[in-house]
């Protein structure tokens, strides 16, 4: 069984990983005990429309979220380089403009650039990195999809997680890519 480190993963994702019976989950406390094969980091979501209202306090929080992302990514990268193997998988939500003030889009774009850079930096150390992008499913999303493009089937979060598990099985051949596991919200546009 592969060893997997879960960082900031929500309950649904964590349960799906555990229930798959394919991974030994490593906790924060035991990450340094032995080698880890996969590092699954769910990038924190940042949806704060008040950012556009220029409130200084919100900018402080935004900076803290950005720093939090850096600290977790760096920890995983260091471990992969030290053990000269491992794959870092970044999980993000693509809410692109579902809500006009969806600041999480900034985080998603940032994460993609981080993934591309990390892929290059891990390569000499036999490490890999890729990103899985979830499509947010909510009433507004479903409404838009069915009104504009009724033939598209909305893929539920549970199905998206199953897609994610399938991709993780072939992690050895995935590198430097952004893979969408849900119906891309872009098609709505």
């Amino acid at each position: 069984m592969k060893k997997i480190y879960l960082a900031n993963c929500n309950l649904k994702i964590t349960n799906a990983i555990v229930d798959s019976n394919k991974y030994n989950v490593v906790s924060k406390d035991t990450i340094n005990q032995g080698e880890v094969d996969l590092f699954l980091y769910q990038i924190p979501e940042y949806c704060e429309s008040r950012l556009l209202l220029a409130a200084e306090e919100d900018y402080k929080n935004f900076t803290e979220v950005l720093n939090e992302i850096f600290i977790e990514v760096k920890k995983c990268v260091q471990k992969i380089i030290k053990q000269k193997k491992g794959t870092l998988i970044l999980l993000v939500k693509n809410n692109k403009f579902l809500n006009c003030e969806d600041t999480n889009y900034i985080i998603t774009e940032m994460a993609n650039a981080m993934m591309l850079t990390i892929t290059k930096e891990l390569n000499p150390f036999n490490g890999k990195c890729y990103m899985i992008e979830f499509a947010t499913i909510n009433k507004e999303n479903i409404g838009k999809l069915t009104s504009i493009a009724p033939k598209y089937n909305v893929i539920s979060i549970d199905e998206q997680i199953q897609n994610m598990l399938s991709i993780m099985e072939v992690s050895s051949i995935v590198n430097g890519q952004k893979i969408k596991v849900g119906l891309p919200i872009e098609i709505v546009n």
Binding site: A54, E56, T63, I106, E109, M110, A113
Partner: protein, 236 residues
Amino acid sequence: MPKILLTGATGEFGNAIIKELPEKYRVVGTYSNNVEKAKKMMEENEKIVSMYQIDFLDDSSFYRVIKKIIQENTDIEIIINNAGIKKDSFAMLMTEKAWSDVMNVNLVRSIYITSFAKLNLEKLTNVVNISSISGRYGRFGQMNYAASKAGLTGATKLLQKSYGSSVIFNVISPGMIESNMVDSVSENIKQEFLANCVEQNVGRLENVARLITYVIDDNNRYTHGSEFIIDGGYLL
């Protein structure tokens, strides 16, 4: 005469932008520490109406000066978010300070300036953010820089979508441009760039500056939240 707020005015890009701007524009510039250069630029260039010293890395200085600029220049119509830094290091060795400084200057402050200006400047019609193609493909030792620039490109689109058509937001992503910033890039990276660049040469500051003057010009219509890539064909 349309008034422009240009951050990072004393830097090489800032200088080139001011030089290429048509005479009709007036510039309110910001600079970080080069007082002498700011004074000299003001003396030598009629387009510059005022220069403000600001520390993008210090919260109190940043917020205080930006508010002052906006209060004293309510007729600003255009913002060019040009201030930027880089603190390169491999991700495994990167310090939290190197990360947060670059994110703050290149991304967070630009969003704040734009949002604050949008709320307080009635005449604001055009915002140009200066990003980089690093945000599109990642680059060794530049996780912070690439992430900040990709975030800025995303923020440009977000701001456009959020604020509608009253203000035109665009982002310009230069490739490797002849400048001090590029001088510090390793020879290997330069050679790799040149080998993959259709132009087979680094770009010039005035190339980017001219593109900016086009983007802010009244003749530029129907570009909203667009990314203008100026990289000599590197990304092809």
